[in-house]
Amino acid sequence: MKIVVCMKQTFDTEAKIAVDANGKINKQGVSLIMNPYDEFAVEEALRIKEKTAGEVTVVTVAGPEGQDALRQALAMGADKAVLVDPGMDEIDEFTTASILAKAISEIEYDVLLGGFRAIDDGSAQVAGRVAEILGIPVVNVITKLEIADGKAVANSEIEGGSQTVEVALPAMFTAQKGLNEPRYPSMKGIMQAKKKPMDKKVLGDLGLDAGQVAPKVKAISYFLPSARAAGKIIPGEPADAARDLVKALREEAKVI
């Protein structure tokens, strides 16, 4: 079984965000990690590979720094990596999905996986767009995946519950927390990862030009939320504090 994982490197969840002098998000000195949801996708791909004697390719659209996340996936056990550097100042989800789909169309695949969203832009749309471009079905936000006889059965999260969905392969699945427990790369895995193929491409290598994948959405400005001011600590014995708090919520904040 051939499995391809779409992945992304993101800021660490603990990262403090600042806007630089040009009004863009400041990326200097921020520690980067593999998008946590993509870790679930990589882990699931490796489990399918182990059951079916398969092969896992990880793909990202990023500048050279994106290699770190790919190397981590290789160290976990993925076989090959593809990095496409768009070399564009502004991209959006349409751009990323168009490039990913083109890169994936050059690879054999039965199963596509990705995190259901990235923790940086949180847009949760690239994987769905990739599936649409490739003409394959998508099942989003999955917490369980079983593959047999050219079909997949997935548990996917829905509002207020979950559903079981069956699709024929090839298909795209996006991972939610709970799908699995991602493994840590072993020392041996990290050493082996250095020798695994890392295919670095630019748009021209895929027969694309920047005009074809130009973003549909344009960012106008970036800003930080106004800081919340610390409020009041309600003093007193628990019973008095509880009474005074409820009173304040009703009479002062007028929210209850």
Binding site: P36, R228, L249, V255, I256
Partner: protein
């Protein structure tokens, strides 16, 4: 000539989700400023009866997309039907709720129409005749204001609980169309809805959340009791979820759900940056924590420094008194 602000009507079993009314209320103002129609797009089976109610919340027109294959939501059937209707009518914008379904549908429809999509927006406005959306990035640690300047329709999903519902009391024109659901590749084998008398976490006006300070799964009962007095939803921090005390569907934070209730009551939650990212857009934050140095007090409007096992039951009794 592109025209019309469209709102996707999210419903399950004939019950319209609250976020739909929020979008109609917000969309009404945009449509008025642009001098365009506000249209509700209502796919489903046997849903035509909901059309009148959508007029009350501001729709000028309701497109009813009826088909047996729209009885349960599937990505393909709904995306094909909505995209097909959009191709025929060329709307200016399509708005959907940023729910699990809305996110799923919006991405497919946007790609089918070759257009841009801004997700989880917390504000929409007209600037120089251009629809501009504000959306959180890095889980709310920053925001970006963006637009889809050329491609049409401009698409956006809007976070629930952001727009105030206002009734417009219109009677909408109903346009019934046979839905073109196309080839449906997802086969729904089973649907398991959690039976809960409490509101959905992302839709609730009040959320009562517990963290590491809850000390164990059995103690969430006191939060549930408080929640039931308030008609609130129950949430949790990552620490409580990772400890296995409560399932991930209750998690509020950067790797869980983002909530914007009127009141967020954080009990035994230290206030890690990852948690704050998921709840700092709440209108009023209340914290109960025994550690006076806890980070949560830096963002809370009201705090009680004390033992939550003592304070929470007392709060429940006090709320009972005023809500009786």
């Amino acid at each position: 000539m592109a025209k019309g602000i469209w709102v996707y009507v999210e419903q399950r079993d004939g019950k319209v989700k609250k976020v739909t009314y929020e979008l109609l209320s917000g969309g009404r103002k945009i449509a008025d400023s642009l001098g365009e129609e506000l249209c509700a797009v209502l796919p489903g089976k046997g849903v035509a009866g909901l059309a009148a109610e959508l007029g009350e919340y501001g729709a000028d027109k309701v497109f009813v997309l009826e088909s047996d294959s729209l009885e349960n939501y599937t990505t393909d059937a709904y995306a094909n039907a909505v995209a097909d209707l959009a191709r025929q009518n060329d709307p200016t914008a399509i708005l959907m709720g940023c729910t699990v379904t809305g996110r799923d549908l919006a991405a497919q429809v946007a790609q089918k129409l070759g257009t841009g999509l801004m997700t989880d927006c917390t504000e929409m406005a007209l600037e120089n005749g251009q629809l501009v959306f504000t959306r959180p990035i890095y889980a709310g640690k920053a925001f970006v204001k963006a637009s889809c300047p050329e491609a049409r329709p401009a698409m956006a999903t809007i976070r629930p609980n952001i727009i105030a519902i206002e009734k417009a009391g219109r009677s909408a024109e109903v346009v019934s169309t046979a839905a073109n659901t196309g080839d449906i590749r997802q086969v729904i084998k089973d649907i398991a809805l959690q039976i809960s008398t409490r509101p959905e976490l992302t839709e609730a006006d009040i959320v009562v959340s517990g963290g590491r300070g809850m000390k164990g799964p059995e103690n969430f009962k006191i939060l549930e009791e408080l929640a039931d007095v308030l008609g609130a939803a129950v949430g949790a921090s990552r620490a409580a979820v990772d400890a296995g005390w409560i399932t991930h569907s209750f998690q509020v934070g950067q790797t869980g759900k983002t909530v914007s209730p009127v009141v967020y009551i954080a009990c035994g939650i230290s206030g890690a940056i990852q948690h704050l990212a998921g709840m700092s857009s709440s209108k009023c934050i209340v914290a109960v924590n025994k550690d006076p140095e806890a980070n949560i007090f830096k963002v809370a409007d009201y705090g009680i420094v004390g033992d939550l096992f003592e304070v929470v039951p007392l709060l429940k009794e006090e709320f009972k008194k005023i809500l009786a």
